[in-house]
Amino acid sequence: MCDLRVSFAGIAFANPIVVASGTYGFGREYQEYLDLNELGGICVKGLTLHPRAGNLAPRIAETPMGMLNSVGLQNPGVDAFIRDELPWLRQFNTKVIANLSGNTVEEYGILAQKLSDAGVDLLEVNISCPNVKEGGIAFGTTVEGARAVTEMVRRNSTVPIMVKLSPNVTDIAAIARAAEDAGADALSLINTLLGMRIDIHTRRPILRNNMGGLSGPAVLPVALRMVYQVASAVNLPILGMGGVATGADAVEMMLAGADLVALGTACFVDPLAPLTAKQGLTDYLARHNITQVTELTGKVALHA
C-alpha cells in the first residue's frame, strides 16, 4: 500500500490531488460526478471583498490543447462565500483552500482576516490574475508588490498562507523569494499565461476582453520548468499546477518539485480527471515500489 498523505505547510492532506481555483466553483457542481471526499483539497473560485460580475462574454476560446479564459473573477464576494458556501463545503473530508484577490494591499488584509476567522484551512493569495484591470497580476509581477501583499496577508491571517505566482514574469524565482521573505508558508504555481486568439473572418479577438489566460495541457512544460526553478530557489512547499491531466503528469509535477498537484482545465474535459490522476499516481508508486508519495517531490535527476 502506498501512503498518499502529504503534510503541507503543517496541514495534513489525505492525498496530493487538489482542484485548481476557478475551475471547480465551490465544489457543488461536481458533487454529482465524484465523491469530493476523494480530493486532497479544493481551491475555491477567486474571492474578492465585494461581489464581482466579471467580464463580458465570450470568455472562453479554445487553443491547441488548451484554452483561454477571461472570466474576470466573477464571484459572489467573500461574505456570501462564508455564509452560503463554506458551511456546505465543510461537510466533506477535504481541505478547503480559499483563493483571494484584492484591488489594494489593504483589501488583501481584510480578506485574509475574514477568511481565516471563518476557518478555511489555507489561504491562496492570488497575485496573478491576468483578467482584471486593477490589483491581481499587478502585484504578482514585481518583487515589491509580491512582498507588500504577502506581508499584509501574513499579518492578518491565523491560518497558513500560500502565494499564487504568475508565470507572466521574466524571473519567477525572484518573486518566489520575495514571497518567502515576506512570510509565505507555501507557494502555488502557475496561474494562466496571458494569450490571445483572433477570428480571421471578423479580424476581432475571440475573447470580448481581447486577451485572456492560457491553461490546459499546452502549458504543462512551462509549468514544470517554473515549478522546478521555484523549488530550487526557495525552501517552501509547492502546490504545482498548469496542464496536469493524468497521473503521469502529476508524477512529473512532483518530480519537478511540487508537494501537491492541482488539476484545473482537465476537469472540464473529464470530471473524473482528478480521480483518474490519483489512481494513475498510485499505480506509478506501486509499480516503482515507492511507499510514500512524498518521496517523489523534487527527485528529478538533472543531466550533468
Binding site: 476557478g22 461536481y30 462574454a57 470568455r59 472562453i60 466573477q74 490546459g216 482545465t265 476537469c267 472540464f268
Partner: protein, 248 residues
C-alpha cells in the same frame, strides 16, 4: 451525469448537417426539452462541444449538428462506437401554454422538435432556413405540430424571407400564450422584440462558448438586464427573453 453512449444510428441530413441517435440509458429518460449534451470529441479537440437534445424517447437521445470546425467534423465522421457524454445539462424550455409558437432558425431548429413533442397545448412551428437544400426535420415537425410554416431566405422552399414575417402574422392572430425560440442571435433578438410587442411571453435558447458545461467555470455567461452574468450551461441555455440584455 456522465455516460459512454452507444451510437445506434448516424445519418447525414444535408451537405453540412448530421444526426446521431444514441442509446443513452437514464440520460434519455431525464432529458428535458432545451437541455443539451456536452460531447467529448476525439482527435486534437480538447474541450467538449455543447449540442442540444433534438429528441428523446425512452432511453434514446437524438442530436442534430452542423459541421463548423474540428469538433463537429470529428463528430460527423463518427458513425459507430461510443460517445462520452455529460448530460442532460442546463435549464431548458418550460412548455406550459395552451397555444405555443415555436420559432427556429437554421441549426437552431432541432431543440424545438423535442419542445413540440413535450408540449401539451397546440403548437405552431415557424422554421427558417437559407434555402431548400438546408431544410432539416420538416417531416418530423409536421408529424408533431398542429401547423408548420417554412421560410427560406431565397424563396426556394416555403415562404420567401425570414421568420419574422410569418411570426408577426401569427402574433397578430392573438391566440398564442408562449413563444419558444432558438437560432442565430439577431433572429432571437427580433423574435424577442416582436413577442414583447404583442405581450406574449418568450423563452430564448442562447449559445455561448463553454468549458465545463456544468456551471463551475463561469465561462459561458449571458448578461441580463439587471447586470447579472448568468451561466448559459446551468441557469440557461434557455432564458426569459425579457430578462436578457440584448445590447451588450
Amino acid at each position: 451525469m456522465q455516460r459512454l453512449c452507444d451510437i445506434i444510428h448516424a445519418q447525414q441530413l444535408t451537405d453540412h448537417i448530421y444526426a446521431i441517435t444514441l442509446e443513452a440509458g437514464e440520460l434519455g429518460r431525464l432529458a428535458q426539452p432545451g437541455q443539451f449534451l456536452h460531447v467529448r470529441c476525439g482527435g486534437d479537440v480538447l474541450l467538449r462541444r455543447p449540442i442540444s437534445v433534438c429528441d428523446a424517447e425512452n432511453e434514446t437521445l437524438k442530436i442534430v449538428f452542423e459541421v463548423k470546425g474540428a469538433g463537429t467534423r470529428w463528430l460527423a465522421e463518427k458513425t459507430s462506437g461510443q460517445l462520452d457524454i455529460l448530460g442532460p445539462l442546463g435549464t431548458g424550455f418550460s412548455v406550459e401554454g395552451q397555444h405555443i409558437l415555436l420559432v427556429g432558425g437554421g441549426i437552431g431548429t432541432p431543440p424545438l422538435l423535442y419542445a413540440a413533442r413535450a408540449a401539451k397545448g397546440s403548437t405552431t412551428a415557424i422554421l427558417g432556413f437559407g434555402s431548400r437544400s438546408q431544410v432539416i426535420l420538416q417531416d418530423e415537425f409536421q408529424t408533431i405540430c398542429d401547423n408548420v410554416i417554412l421560410t427560406t431566405d431565397d424563396g426556394s422552399a416555403g415562404e420567401p424571407g425570414q421568420v419574422t414575417g410569418p411570426l408577426e402574422n401569427e402574433l397578430q392572430s392573438g391566440t398564442y400564450d408562449m413563444v419558444l425560440t432558438c437560432g442565430p442571435k439577431p433572429m432571437l433578438r427580433a423574435v424577442a422584440n416582436l413577442a414583447a410587442q404583442y405581450n406574449v411571453p418568450c423563452q430564448v435558447s442562447t449559445e455561448e462558448r463553454m468549458a465545463c458545461g456544468v456551471g463551475a467555470c463561469l465561462g459561458c455567461t449571458v448578461t441580463m438586464r439587471n447586470g447579472d452574468n448568468l451561466r448559459a450551461c446551468a441557469d440557461g441555455p434557455v432564458f426569459d427573453a425579457g430578462e436578457v440584455n440584448w445590447d451588450v
